[in-house]
Amino acid sequence: MKIKSNIAVSDNGFVFNPASGESFMVNPVGLGMLNMMRKGQSQEQIVAAIQEDYRAEAMTIERDLLDFVEMMRQYRLLQYDDE
């Protein structure tokens, strides 16, 4: 669950992939998750941190985080260990 190192993320949720030229928009919760992923935080740490800030159950956050990661994988924003 690592973000490619060349991905640029702005403070207001604009995401740019210089390798493909594609750009994306993330909402505030997504931006928080994305930044924590860039810092290499674990799934449990991210869920706990989001729960600290937002009114939501851990189970809901975890489910949404997995879906969010899956979408980033589909958009080829993730880097695998052997890359």
Binding site: E22, F24, M25, V26, D53, T60, I61, D64, F68, M71
Partner: protein, 454 residues
């Protein structure tokens, strides 16, 4: 940090920014949540009456009706509406139209009995449709109802019954015709162009056993072209004049049927229904002008009867429902499953119903497929729609569901929900209770040898 200082959670979303040709209609179709219906909070309605739930507005029904009546009455001296029972035959709904002065338009023995039980006078019931049994016809003749003959077999049966009862049935024939709109509905009634309709009229008048009182047509459904009604009105008026010329017999009414489009959006339509559906004034102008300009010259202008259903009630009802789950499809699209599907929203097969969240949402959206709860692949409410981020247990409002859903709904794998009516004082009344398993099982019988098993 206390619970109250925490921010409202919205699920994370990442959306690719596309540099395609801009869409001149914009990408967002929903701007505001619909949290209240006729002054009642959607959340409260669901808490009290369950989800899903049909909600009907008495105020809107009456408003639509008065608008339609005004459109015709300001253009033509004698107008009568007949409520199309098949569109929505909940007794409370029918009675609103009857209070407004509508007759009843029925297409089966079941609907006929419903109208009688609602207290409609027999001579104010129009009996249409191809399926009228001998028992139905006897009842209708005795009650002096207006029988619209669909085919020759019915005409001959009517003659037999009239002879036996020694009562003259009041009849009209249904006429189908080419109005320039395709496909032509030629399966109901007698064709104008090939002479069938004229033959049927001659048979009725020659027999001398029936009172020919009207001519009826119903040229199609969800008609977007008022000019087609002008063609139809001209052709009926021409038939009426032919009868007057040959038999010196005046046709008392011209029944233009229904079929006016509502504000819903048909699947595949480029523009939304609210932008392209003609108004009552457009239909009224086309029909009344054609009638008044026709060559029909009776002593008294014929009564103009209208059987419009859909356009009067579609936007007077909503279906409120709840998000069961969110899923990701294999192509990356979001899918949302609601607890209301095509079992109770039959019209989702041909409309792209507007669906709005009942709670506030942010500006972030996703392309979403909206499914119903059935274990059936065809249970799709919207194949692809730009929706705000929806969460499990969110409430949703589906718009313009008043026509046909509460008559064509299916009791498939689950039970049908309550229907409530919000009156003009914003008071809520349950006008149809939800079904129970006992309701369904009470009709079944298990033979003795099938009662037990291990």
């Amino acid at each position: 940090m206390t619970m109250t200082s925490k921010k409202t959670y919205e699920r994370p979303v990442i959306k690719k920014l596309e540099n395609n040709m801009p869409n001149k209609f914009g990408t967002r179709t929903i701007f505001e949540p619909i949290s209240h219906l006729e002054g009642q909070a959607v959340n409260d309605l669901i808490a009290k009456y369950g989800s899903p739930l049909f909600v009907i507005s008495e105020r809107k029904i009456r408003k639509n009706f008065r608008k339609a009546r005004q459109a015709f009455e300001t253009r033509y001296p004698r107008v009568q509406f007949a409520w199309s029972y098949k569109t929505n035959y909940l007794d409370a709904v029918c009675n609103i139209y009857h209070q407004e002065g509508s007759w009843a338009e029925v297409v089966s023995g079941f609907e006929y009995d419903k109208a009688i039980r609602n207290g409609v006078q027999g001579n104010k019931i129009i009996f249409n449709g191809p399926d009228k049994s001998e028992t139905d016809l006897r009842k209708a003749i005795t009650n002096h109802s207006l029988i619209h003959i669909d085919h020759l077999d019915e005409l001959y049966m009517l003659q037999d019954i009239a002879r036996n009862l020694n009562i003259r049935p009041k009849v009209a024939i249904r006429v189908n015709m080419d109005t320039g709109v395709y496909p032509t509905w030629d399966r109901f009634g007698f064709n104008y162009e090939n002479g069938q309709a004229w033959d049927a009229l001659n048979k009725i008048l020659f027999s001398g056993m029936m009172d020919l009182v009207g001519l009826h047509t119903h040229i199609g459904t969800f008609m977007l072209s008022p000019s087609a009604y002008a063609v139809a009105a001209s052709k009926l008026a021409h038939l009426a004049q032919s009868v007057l010329t040959k038999y010196n017999h005046e046709i008392k009414y011209i029944d233009m049927g229904g079929g006016f489009a509502s504000q819903n959006t048909l699947k595949g339509s480029y523009l939304p229904g609210s932008d392209i559906s003609p108004s009552f004034d457009d239909f009224a102008e086309a029909i009344t002008t054609a009638l008044m300009n026709s060559d029909y010259r009776p002593k008294n202008p014929p009564l103009l009867i209208l059987e419009t259903g859909r356009a009067l009630i579609d936007d007077a009802a909503w279906l409120v429902s709840t998000v069961l789950a969110n899923k990701r499809l294999s192509d990356g699209r979001r899918s949302t499953i609601l607890n209301a599907g095509v079992n109770i929203l039959f019209t989702a097969f041909w409309y792209d119903h507007k669906i709005t969240p009942a709670q506030p949402f942010t500006s972030y959206t996703e392309d979403t497929a909206i499914y119903g709860p059935l274990c059936m692949n065809i249970d799709v409410l919207r194949e692809s729609v730009t929706m705000p981020l929806l969460n499990k247990d969110d409430h949703m409002v589906i718009h313009h569901v008043g026509a046909y859903n509460m008559t064509q709904w299916m009791q498939f794998i689950t039970l049908r929900p309550k229907v409530v009516l919000i009156d003009e004082q914003n008071k809520v009344h349950v006008i149809r209770n939800n079904e129970s398993i006992d309701n369904i099982r009470s009709l079944e019988h298990v033979p003795d040898h099938l009662l037990n098993f291990e």
